[in-house]
């Protein structure tokens, strides 16, 4: 299962380590849910998930302030005793002396941010969702054409990189060549990027490795992009029939999400970049509600298909 270290969360959100207990490099968070432990501080622990990050804001602080020092110590102790990974105070709230004692007792870090609670929880939740998303690496090319993220898949030597280069020359952007790291960031969204070590490099047989960012500038590349559409390139197979009309809808499964896809046969002399470009525009048009193949059917047969 994917996980993220507490240390990287501290760096990402510039959290203040008020009570630097534990070892954040070793503490791993494997769940994107966050808890505001209001009920737990009141003593109710049914269905409590002790593996979640705990966030304390105005409400919890005000509640704790109302208690006697002894009660406060007992309640905070009960929360920390469950083995939570850390506790985060928002709005720069002060640490109760009882909390300090308990944090040291269980060696659990207490962190602090100046941000308001809801806002902080929303951004931390989003960050965790992306970091903990299921992931895979695919052999292909990811480009952005007219705002659509297009993943080009196909056997080695079919011409993916050459197509990508031509697409960049036409003013679109390259995200990854050869190896695309894909993350499923929500039930409908796939996010693709290149491994940092080979980011924005492209390999063209006969020339070698090219740095697209250095050659064509920053406007020709992008760090990451959603995958809206998949194009499968394959060597033209005479025995296979290819879609001539465009009424059938093909999908490719990536990490459990069905992404609309096309299979394009490759033959010498076919300008693949133009085909990818027009596929992108056509895809957008379909999403906006116009389908040329359906319109033709209507015109010829006079019925709505």
């Amino acid at each position: 299962m994917n996980s993220v270290t507490l240390a990287s969360i501290i760096r990402e959100f510039k959290l203040e380590r008020v009570l630097p207990c534990g070892n954040p490099e070793e503490t791993r968070i494997g769940i994107a849910d966050l808890t505001r432990p209001g009920l737990q501080l009141a003593g109710y622990f049914d269905h409590f998930g002790p593996d979640r990050i705990q966030v304390i804001g105005n409400m919890e602080t005000a509640y704790l302030e109302r208690l006697t020092s002894r009660e406060r110590r007992t309640r905070i102790d009960a929360l920390f005793a469950t083995g939570i990974p850390c506790l985060i105070l928002t709005r720069n709230h002060a640490v109760f002396p009882e909390m300090e004692a308990v944090a040291r007792k269980y060696d659990i870090p207490v962190l602090r941010t100046t941000a308001p609670t809801s806002e902080f929880m929303a951004s931390l939740g989003k960050y965790l969702n992306v970091e903990l998303a299921p992931r895979t690496s695919l052999h292909g090319v990811l480009v952005e054409v007219y705002g659509e993220g297009i993943l080009i898949l196909g056997e080695s030597g079919v011409g993916k990189s050459e197509t990508a280069l031509e697409i960049v020359k036409r003013g679109h952007r390259l995200i990854a060549d050869d190896l695309v790291e894909v993350r499923r960031v929500s039930d409908t969204t796939l996010l693709g990027q290149a491994p940092e070590i080979i980011r924005h490099l492209i390999e063209i047989r006969g020339i070698g490795i090219l740095d697209v960012k250095e050659l064509y500038g920053v406007s020709s590349v992008k760090i990451q992009e959603n995958i809206n559409f998949v194009i499968n390139l394959e060597i033209w197979d005479e025995s296979k029939s290819y879609d001539r009309v465009g009424l059938t809808e093909e999908h490719t499964d990536i990490l459990g999400i069905d992404v609309p896809s096309l299979t394009i046969p490759v033959r010498p002399g076919r300008n693949l970049a133009v085909i990818v470009e027009v596929a992108a525009i056509n895809f957008r048009q379909k999403q906006m509600g116009y389908n040329a193949a359906k319109a033709l059917t209507e015109r010829v047969f006079g019925v709505k298909s």
Binding site: R135, H139, D178
Partner: protein, 86 residues
Amino acid sequence: MLTKTVVFRCDESLQMKVVAVLIQKASVFRSSVWLSRGERRANAKSLLGVMSLGIENQAELQVTADGEDESEAIEAVTSYLAHPES
């Protein structure tokens, strides 16, 4: 589909060349050949993919081959990775 684990042994000054030769060796076969290291996986026929694994001397790699000539492919790739000099 066949899978085999191999430890990469190679002099550091030669790494780039070894990877280039590895790609050529893998590309000869019709089968698809994959290298994986940890949770990263790359097509052994793609130079940038293999480079992105960041393989260094003594790295443990898993080789997977799938296709009609998979046994020849896996044999060629694993024996080359284990002894690139010979």
